[in-house]
Structures are given as structure tokens and as C-alpha cells.
């Protein structure tokens, strides 16, 4: 338990007591005990997985018919529906949902890092339909270095949301009009929300050159 307690906030002033930063729980540490849902790690007891149920509705059937091989599963968990698609299938599905199923509002794009998995990132699109009052997530697993197609052509909102995903995870979107960092400084190295980026890690060189101080961390 104490190992999980991080000694410092992420970007606070230097530690007041001058304590040396403890060795951090390594990237995979949070995922060490319970395995991430997808890969079946050879553990003594089977890893806990998300108890998702298959989602059956007109829309789900329609999607499976329309995109055979590209929509891998339609599931529901805690009453929230999601579609698992292949990386190439995500944007066509998004487009189909927008044009033919009235899912006209892209709520969010985000990613989740599972460093132990072959396809390292989960890319998650949340869409909402005003006429149907329904929310659906599209999930797709992509490998590190894969450049997924941008969603800007479908929804303009995707512009900044994809930039943030790029900033935090280093997932580059192909065809994005303006693929720059958005929250971090442009010359910053490293992608903060990856699991192998420690919470107190900083781009020391950037801090030194731009702020003129030695980072205290």
C-alpha cells in the first residue's frame, strides 16, 4: 500500500523536505495485480475481466450486417452500450452512425493505455444522438505507432480532441489538419498519459532551457 502512495504531486514545487524521489511504482505496477481485461495473462487465477453482456438491438444487428469483419462485437456494460471495431472500421462506423443513425454529436475521443497488450491503446469514441437520446461508445484497439484515420472529416469536434490524444498518448492521426500538441509545450518530449511515464517525470531539458531552473524532481 505505501508503495502506491506517490510522494509528490505531479508538477508541484521542489519537495519541501528535500526528500529524494522514491522509486516510483513502475509503469505496469497498477496493472500488475489485476490483469487488464483483454490479454489472458498466465496467472494462477483467471484475470478479472469486464463482465460485459452482448448488446442486441436493431442498431447492433444493423451494424454487424453493414460492417462484417469490421465490427467485432457489440456489448453492453452497466447499461452502457459499446461497439468494438477494428482500427480501420472505426471511422466508417462513426460515419454510418452520424449519417444514418442520427448519432450527430461526438462527445469525446480518448485513449486508454494497456502497455502489456500487443495492441497497446484502446481508442474510445463516445457519440450521442439527440433524436434517440442514446449514447454509444466505439472502441478500437490499436498498436503503438499505428496511425488511425482522423475523425475530423466526420465531426469537427474531433480536431482538438484528437490533438489532445496525440499530446497525451502520442497517437498520430492520419489526415488530421493540425497535428500539434495542445496542452503540453510543443517541444516537450514524452507522452504524459502513457503508463510508462512516471507521475513525477519531466522533460528535464525543456525545463532547463525554457524556465532556466533545474527541475527539483
Amino acid at each position: 500500500m505505501p508503495d502506491e502512495q506517490k510522494p509528490e504531486g505531479s508538477e508541484g514545487p521542489p519537495p519541501a523536505q528535500g526528500e529524494a524521489p522514491k522509486p516510483q511504482a513502475k509503469p505496469a505496477a497498477p496493472a500488475a495485480k489485476p490483469a487488464p481485461p483483454k490479454p489472458a495473462a498466465p496467472a494462477p487465477k483467471p484475470p478479472a475481466v469486464m463482465m460485459a453482456m452482448p448488446w442486441d438491438s436493431d442498431l447492433a444487428r444493423d451494424l454487424k450486417e453493414r460492417f462484417p469483419g469490421r465490427v467485432l462485437a457489440t456489448s453492453t456494460y452497466l447499461g452502457q452500450n459499446f461497439i468494438v471495431a477494428t482500427p480501420e472500421g472505426a471511422i466508417p462506423v462513426l460515419e454510418f452512425l452520424k449519417l444514418e443513425a442520427d448519432f450527430d454529436y461526438l462527445v469525446d475521443i480518448t485513449a486508454v493505455d494497456w502497455p502489456k497488450r500487443a495492441e497497446r491503446f484502446d481508442l474510445v469514441y463516445v457519440v450521442y444522438s439527440f433524436p434517440r437520446n442514446e449514447r454509444v461508445r466505439i472502441k478500437t484497439a490499436i498498436a503503438d505507432g499505428f496511425h488511425p484515420q482522423t475523425a475530423v472529416d466526420v465531426h469537427l469536434t474531433a480536431n482538438w480532441l484528437e490533438r489532445e490524444v496525440f499530446d497525451m498518448f502520442g497517437i498520430e492521426f492520419a489526415g488530421h489538419p493540425d497535428m500539434r500538441r495542445i496542452l503540453m509545450p510543443e517541444e516537450w518530449e514524452g507522452y504524459p498519459l502513457r503508463k510508462d511515464y512516471s507521475i513525477i517525470q519531466q522533460d528535464q531539458r525543456w525545463v532547463r532551457e525554457n524556465l532556466g531552473i533545474e527541475s527539483g524532481q
Binding site: 489485476p34 462527445v107 496542452l183 507521475i199
Partner: protein
């Protein structure tokens, strides 16, 4: 030889911010100007980036709760409510009725407080100094209720996962009722100052128009969407925390310009006071904390829960790996997404309107940058 009949109009690049009083924080807008006309903008954000999502991965569920208050710090209670609801969804528990009623009261009071800040600063940007003082005076009353209830005024940490930590204090209902009674006439007063004021109308009408389709395209939510004529409010569309029990209206307007957003927000304050009045009339008796253990350990899974924050749809996407720490917390901030529409709203307009449009966006940079 260049054509000298016309004055040379080269593009002028002007930095607005990051230290500019009307950007409401540390927003930097790079304006491309042709004289007074705005040709394009580029927002530079991230000056207030604190890595809240990263912090979440290194804290327990309970420990992360106070951090969410620091995103949208003028509506901290709404942030807390969204986070608590998201984790409760993962745990598959619901807060007891008494906790829900108190949550609604505090969240709506916070909506009023947030809108008051918006009104005061927006009017100040336009040039009307007086409303700021009146708004802060009334906001103070709301903050006093928060202080009495949970001991903090701004970053309240008022709710806990599963319900509430604090029982209502003695005189809570009386004070809330007094606030509602006092507040109605005060809104009339603001309206008297502004609604028909010719300078106010001249500066706001027809400025920063965003139609309903554009709003959906840009993912703009909240009062801005409603001002464009879309009658959509998450409190009605997907009620949470017992909002279905209260009778209130969703104010909408047609034009989607800055003036309409002003009217919608003024109406929203009245509606919020109406909800509070109904909620405080019958707060059910009973426990305030639901059946959650001391250690919060949701099963493996994920959930996206969103609420109607004062600025728009505030969503939390929480992924649990079965441990005591969230595997990933993603915040869908309304300000961030709404700010993206700034370029569309000011392009082709005048430079003076940029200030009005930033004011009407009602952004909080703490939430934009997280």
C-alpha cells in the same frame, strides 16, 4: 510595381493573452487581423495544465475526489457530483434519497454561483462595471451556504462516493429558502440593468452566432446549444440524482447569438432557484451515505457518466482494473470543447467582438487545461 490605388492591407498578427483580463484566465489567442477585422484565430492553451488525469491514476478513488474541484473551480460542486456519479456507476450503487436531494440543492446553488461569475465578468468585459459587484454580492450568499455546509467556499469537496460526508447543518433549510427568496428579485435587478440597455444590446446582438447545426458539429453543449434552439438538457434527457422529480423548464432561444445566450443563462438561474426551492421543501429523512465500503474497489469495467454542468456536458470516463486506484479517468470538459468553436464564432467579425465572444463562451481555464 504594386497596385497603389488601395491601401496596403497586410495581415497583422496580434497576441491576446495569456495575461489579458478578458480571457478569464491564461488563454492566449493569436489573432490574425486585417484592420479591425478578424481573419482567423489560433488558441494556445495549456498554461494551467496540471495533469489531473495523470494524478487520478496515482491516487485512490477517494483521494482523487478533491482534485476534481480544481478543474472548474467556479463550479466545483458540479465537478464533484459528476465524479461521484461515475464511480457510483462503476460500483453499481446509488446515493440514498436524502443525499440526492442535498446534492441537487448544492449543485443548483453552484450553478447559480457559476452563472453569477459569468454574468459579472461578461458584463465587465463589455464595459458594464456595476453588475460585477452585485453578482459577487449574491454569490457570496451562496458561498456562505457552502462554507457552512462543508467548510470550504470554492474547492468544496462536498460529496463523497456513495453519498455525502456531512449531514446538513442546523438552519440549512432556512438559509437556502432565504437565498431563493432573496435571489429572484436580484435577477430582476440585473435584468433591469442589462436586458434593455442599448449599449448591451448593441454589443451583443448578432455577435458570435452559432446555429444549432454548427453547435452539434462542434460538440458545443450547455446554454450555448440551448440559445441556438435545441431543447436539450441532460437533467431532462437522462436524469441523474433525482432530477426527474423536480419541475423545471429548459429555457431556449432561437438566434444563437451572444444576446440569446445571455437571456438563456439568466433564465437558467431562475430555473435553478426554482429547483432548489422544490428540493429544499422536502428533503427526505434517512441515511446520507450509501452502501460503499471504506475502501472503494470497483470491479473491472468502465463507465461514461455525464452531467449537465453550468458550462455544458461534463463527462467522466472511468476505467477500473479492479484495484483501489482508477486505471484511467478521462474528463470530458465542456469548456475545452466549447472553446474550439471560438474560431468559427469570431472569424469575419470585429476585434472588439472577440472579447464579447470569449465572455459568452463561459470558459474556465482550469477546466480547459485540467
Amino acid at each position: 510595381m504594386p497596385d497603389a490605388t488601395f491601401l496596403d492591407s497586410t495581415e497583422l498578427v496580434l497576441n491576446m493573452g495569456p495575461q489579458h483580463p478578458s480571457t478569464h484566465g491564461v488563454l492566449r489567442v493569436i489573432l490574425k487581423l486585417d484592420g479591425e477585422k478578424v481573419l482567423g484565430t489560433d488558441c494556445v492553451i495549456g498554461y494551467l495544465h496540471r495533469g489531473v488525469e495523470k494524478i487520478a491514476e496515482n491516487r485512490t478513488y477517494t483521494q482523487f475526489n478533491p482534485y476534481v474541484d480544481r478543474m472548474d473551480y467556479v463550479a466545483a460542486i458540479s465537478n464533484g457530483l459528476g465524479y461521484c456519479l461515475a464511480v457510483e456507476k462503476l460500483l453499481n450503487v446509488e446515493a440514498p434519497p436524502r443525499a440526492q436531494a442535498v446534492r441537487v440543492i448544492l449543485t443548483e446553488l453552484n450553478r447559480i454561483a457559476s452563472h453569477l461569475i459569468w454574468l459579472g465578468t461578461h458584463a465587465l468585459d463589455i464595459g458594464a462595471v456595476t453588475p460585477l459587484f452585485y453578482c459577487f454580492r449574491e454569490r457570496e450568499e451562496a458561498l456562505k451556504i457552502f462554507e457552512n455546509y462543508c467548510g470550504a467556499r470554492l474547492t468544496t469537496h462536498a460529496f463523497r462516493i456513495g453519498g455525502l460526508q456531512y449531514e446538513t447543518y442546523e438552519g440549512f433549510e432556512r438559509e437556502v429558502k432565504a437565498f431563493c427568496k432573496m435571489f429572484g428579485p436580484k435577477v430582476d435587478e440585473y435584468e433591469e440593468l442589462l436586458t434593455n440597455n442599448r449599449i448591451w444590446m448593441g454589443r451583443l446582438k448578432g455577435v458570435g452566432v452559432l446555429s444549432a447545426d454548427e453547435c452539434k458539429e462542434y460538440g458545443v453543449t450547455g446554454p450555448m446549444l440551448r440559445a441556438a434552439g435545441v431543447k436539450w438538457d441532460l437533467r431532462k434527457a437522462q436524469p441523474y440524482s433525482g432530477y426527474e422529480k423536480y419541475d423545471f423548464e429548459i429555457p431556449t432561444r432561437e438566434n444563437g447569438d451572444t444576446y440569446d445566450r445571455y437571456v438563456v443563462r439568466m433564465q437558467e438561474m431562475r430555473q435553478a432557484a426554482r429547483i432548489v426551492e422544490q428540493a429544499v421543501e422536502n428533503i427526505p429523512e434517512g441515511p446520507i451515505l450509501g452502501k460503499v465500503g471504506k475502501v472503494i474497489k470497483p470491479p473491472v469495467g468502465e463507465a461514461y457518466v455525464s452531467i449537465e454542468a453550468p458550462k455544458g456536458e461534463l463527462g467522466y470516463y472511468v476505467v477500473s482494473d479492479g484495484s483501489t486506484q482508477p486505471y484511467r479517468v478521462r474528463v470530458r470538459p465542456p469548456s475545452f470543447v466549447n472553446l474550439q468553436a471560438l474560431d468559427r464564432m469570431v472569424r469575419g467579425g470585429l476585434i472588439a467582438d472577440v472579447v464579447a465572444v470569449i465572455g459568452t463562451l463561459d470558459i474556465v481555464l482550469g477546466e480547459v487545461d485540467r
